[in-house]
Symmetry: C2
């Protein structure tokens, strides 16, 4: 490991006071969400029963470039922000690359990931609106832990449906949610109609994110003064995550550099958009020509092998239809350790940007991501989350290209979280029992038979 | 949870350049270590085969108040230091106390605890001396993880003996050590004479810290260019930890306050000394009258119920005899979750200070520590390590006293680490299956029959 590393911080006063809403700057706006029954665009009022009003307004806001961060949310951000921007000298040296590698270290949040940036905002808006409880789903538990924390901050009850296999296999994050006072239920459960239907069909069902979403939405719809919250995919979630890129832009200025390439892992798109969009605005204005690369698992390749069309956000089809790069809402990704990337589609904004060629995507096999994670741990001293390791792997590919070309490219990636609660995955890697998973054409395209194609 | 919290940082330039050696200021110096065969004080040369020379000099240095921190060690400190000093408004509000509560958050280090402060220094000195490998023991694994990280930084091989029950029950920290490249062996093992003797006597032995120390020392003695390292107890370890208190002193100045009470959990004494000694020096000079409180488990009460006398540092009796408050080196503490506090004795400096009335000690039952940990998590958003929870419990006791007296006391405690890898303990607490353990007089005093009393 290197003994060199350089960290850049912002003072409290320099922490951004507004989020950046890229929808205002997009030439091709994202297509609207569609009501599956009427095939008409979803209106704000249609969403109020599920999401807080302020989140709905942000979701549909195509005009305001800057959205004020409420003072209370900023106060909570100060618990852990600014997060460090780090020059990764150790990784550079190990690769022998002339590239300058920086990462934004979101793992320093109290729950260990960037998810808190939106959880705080969503819980705050719920509280403001007089809501008493929030529901959500979670897989590995990063989002559920963040929402539980945020709900505790604002005195809301939180009910989290956790995919059953994760509930049983990864008890630590469940315990974290419970420590913050959340009610955690393994999904599918007997507490909802959606859950009962699935259990009746298959009593041993171990659950999926799509099923857990259906249960959380149903609980929200059947509970007074309750709203549903989401950890990615939606535009307002990505909006909240732009705090990452806005801070990074200021910190890169402290470092005297500007990124040639920005890289992030990709599940639903919120951390990718969060770090990318503030830089992408300078591409949209023609000032800069940064490349933006989304790194997704080869076993869940929505951007690299999916299709751009309307699809549901959940398995049961409770949500509106969303214009997305998708593998189909019934796609069952392999059981890779990067649970946060096991989602079938990308959000509407990111999907539009991908369609318009404003960003790139690469897919990475599981073992390559752990090769990258191990090298990063040994050179930079931080054990990354399996999700974040996808961004590291893509960064290493680009840095190696610089070895060949001799270019001193400036690469910035998002370290979304630490892997301290994912050590079982590292154990498998070290003991040689970790596998790659390929996605076959059959799996990817089987949804087109059942999905109503609107585009 | 409160939405108020205030954090204080130092700039890189303000990070202290020297450690504070309290031995120079003590009126009653600590008694020397004794060779058990000759009953003569141990000389520096006697220790060179086991410890690095620079560490031995620091251990025995009674004259130099300030010891320079090597530039390379400072460079590594900058990876995570300064650590935040935090005003815990949320905890204050929950207690309704007029006290001002601050904590030093050492959990932000890459391995999640303060242990890295000394691991980096010990690995650096080993490298400087041309040493090729280091050995150590670990229980729950905080120290082992820190040493593995530090050894990786300086290109040393690391061999860690981990108490067998922890090796099997807490695989995550073992995996962290392995991720940083360390060789981790469950103790007792067949790789040492000490281990074999114990296995022959009891094939199902689950190990103890004392046994693991014996194995690590034996491996060091039988290996060329190898030295043994230790995570607490010794004076040079505590010296390295004074970076905590020296930073805190500057940060308290930024907050415009000075502590009336400083509180830390107590295993061997290094985190306690680390945060306390820089403030205690103003007591020794007569300027200040701060109280210093060591919080230990009721199930391992060396300071509150032990005896001040010479004892061995390990079970097999490989070490010199150390003047310490001790429960006897064969004392077997109950299997509490705060594995880092399950050690029979305190270091010689801390023991002398306790004997001279310059500090206090309290003991806390396991359930009270988890009551405190849960309240802290819910009010400050950080899930503390079970060890750190002892300091939180003692802090809450003092803050509650201020409710009664109305005094606005300033209390500072050391948050040594986070509990993200100890969630199984929280699960037990939440599900009501956590127990208290009382220490009986029989257990405490049984060692006096077998221990040669030199004092």
């Amino acid at each position: 490991m290197s003994d060199r590393q350089k960290r850049f911080f912002l003072s409290e006063d320099e922490i951004p006071r507004q989020w950046y809403n890229i929808q205002a700057d997009m030439v091709n706006k994202p297509l609207p969400m569609i009501d599956p029954r009427t095939h008409q665009p979803v209106k704000a009022e249609d969403l109020y029963r599920v999401f807080c009003e302020e989140c709905v307004h942000q979701e549909l806001n195509m005009t305001d470039r800057w959205i004020d961060i409420p003072e209370k949310v900023r106060d909570m951000y100060k618990f852990y922000r600014s997060t460090p921007l780090v020059r990764a000298y150790g990784l550079e040296e190990a690769l022998g690359t002339p590239a300058h590698i920086y990462f934004k270290n979101e793992s320093v949040s109290p729950v260990g990931s960037h998810k808190l940036n939106s959880a705080i905002a969503q819980a705050y808006y719920a509280k403001q609106q007089g809501i008493k409880s929030v529901t959500t789903e979670t897989g590995a538990g990063q989002w559920g832990a963040a929402l539980s924390y945020a709900a505790s901050v604002f005195g809301l009850e939180a009910a989290v449906y956790q995919v059953k296999i994760s509930y049983n296999q990864k008890p630590y994050r469940r315990n974290i949610m419970q420590t913050f006072g959340a009610q955690v239920t393994p999904s599918p459960s007997m507490s909802t109609r959606a859950g009962k239907d699935i259990i009746n069909k298959n009593p041993n069902c171990q659950g999926s994110l799509g099923t857990a979403i259906s249960e959380a939405v149903e609980l929200c719809r059947t509970t007074e003064n309750c709203r549903y919250t989401l950890g990615s995919v939606m535009n307002h979630v990505t909006l909240h995550q732009t705090i990452i890129g806005l801070e990074a832009e200021k910190q890169m200025r402290l470092a005297g550099e500007y990124p040639d390439i920005v890289i992030a892992c990709f599940g639903g798109g919120s951390n990718f958009g969060g770090i990318s969009f503030p830089f992408m605005r300078h591409n949209l204005s023609g000032e800069k020509h940064t490349r933006f690369i989304a790194a997704e698992p080869e076993s869940c390749p929505k951007l690299t092998k999916g299709v751009f069309q309307y699809d549901f956000g959940d398995e049961a089809g409770y949500t509106p239809m969303i214009p997305m790069f998708t593998l189909g809402h019934e796609f069952m990704p392999a059981n890779i350790h990067a649970g946060g990337l096991r989602y079938h589609g990308g959000g509407s904004v990111v999907s539009q940007l991908k369609k318009d060629g404003l960003m790139e995507a690469v897919d990475v096999q599981q073992i390559e991501t752990f090769d990258a994670a191990m090298l990063f741990a040994k050179t930079e001293g931080i054990i990354p989350a399996p999700e974040s390791a996808h961004a590291i792997a893509a960064t290493i590919r680009e840095a190696k290209r610089c070895v060949e070309t001799g270019e001193e490219k400036v690469i910035l990636f998002n370290l979304t979280g630490h892997g301290l609660i994912d050590m079982a995955a590292y154990d498998q890697y070290i003991s040689g029992s970790l596998h790659n998973y390929a996605t076959t054409e059959d799996e990817i395209h089987r949804f087109t038979d059942t999905l109503e194609q609107i585009i």
